[in-house]
Subunit: 133 residues, 4 copies
């Protein structure tokens, strides 16, 4: 399995920060490896302090289930099939902004978690991190 | 950045307790600094014990996101964009009663968290703390 | 049973802050009631942030066992009868600076926890809080 | 008070990674702000996973007490004045590798935490991060 390297993470975080600057928002960006362990983290100056933990948890959530955090959020609402899943795994985040990183063969090798703006902004920036080759 | 001092906190808590006395309720009032660290806390005699933690968490929540706790509550309902956010950051409180304190240049230098009555009462008292120069 | 009031707590914290000023140290002072619930807290400007939690835990520890924290520390060393007791009760602090408050009939009605200097300084200031009638 | 910026943190982490490469070890480097909140984190490829949390906690410990983590370790041994202090503040690390960052006026504006090698190596690398202007 390809392993995510720190250099990969640098490149992805940089792409995310560039996109955040375009959007005029200050973001927290976390990148974790295939085991959910933190590889790289940046907090842009003036980003919300409360978004540090959310970015970290979005990345961990995305890798633990190998899916975007927003997909989990679709299942975890009251009455949904996974109501309350956020309480497991020492805390998950199930709204948008967490995306798994896959290798050329479709295997999840890590994930990105972004927090600091609206969920739409967070998602755009996570997508920018992901799009970087 | 201006730093919130203990004397500032004393003055704000006193204003809050005076307003609480007018309303005939017993309140917990917590004041934290820009990093969310506790600076001052008072529990009026006969205030609910369960409101201690709520006041502390409201203050921390308001500073971590630099917004009133009630605004977060508007986003975190089932189906809302930030459903479940209360589970992050070791526990947030997203109903009214937490307000950020800003300096003359609009920077968040701390926050107030009030709990002990209805959410309306908590908010009125937090506003009284905030209004004090 | 006499109950500790917020006014009592104010007087005791003030005495502690006056003593701290004499000693030239910046202290965190926490006062809890007979149930170990926070009643009053002050952090003097420039006091260590890490001492907030220690002051809170010293006060709680002193009331939970109705004895000075230093007495517990004498029992909790490696090889001692209560080795590891600090891991219970969501965390205790077993070095000096926590003192129970008793009423005229010797009943514990609350406790003081002080942290911010050496253990000797913390203890002197806790004693100043306690000595206040 | 001067605030630590992400650019400062990048420069310091880079200096630390360069020193780690010289020593032939793979390190985790965490940089926190004056409130102990994470600003920047890097894990060099092949660094121990267990050192992520240690680096984070060393940085937080150093800023919470405005002193090198090793100084706390000198006080927290069995029989020492602060035995058990590691259990406070949601977990501290009291061996070498955490250093506060001060501004020109001696105020603590953040801290560095390094983990991944021997304590001597961790400390050398934290010093390299600190030495960078």
């Amino acid at each position: 399995m390809t392993e995510l390297t720190l250099q990969d993470a640098f490149r992805r975080a940089e792409a995310g920060m560039a996109r955040a600057a375009e959007l005029g928002v200050d973001m927290n960006i976390a990148i974790v490896d295939a085991g959910g362990h933190l590889l790289h983290f940046v907090r842009m100056d003036r980003a919300w302090l409360g978004s540090i933990d959310i970015a970290l948890k979005k990345a961990r959530t995305a890798v633990l289930f190998r899916m975007p955090t927003a997909v989990i959020g679709g299942l975890s609402q009251p009455g949904g099939p996974c109501y309350g899943i956020e309480l497991t795994n020492d805390g998950l985040v199930s709204f948008g902004g967490g995306l798994p990183i896959t290798d050329g063969e479709g295997r999840t090798i890590g994930a990105i978690g972004v927090s600091g703006g609206t969920v739409e902004q967070d998602t755009l920036i996570a997508e920018a991190c992901l799009a970087t080759p």
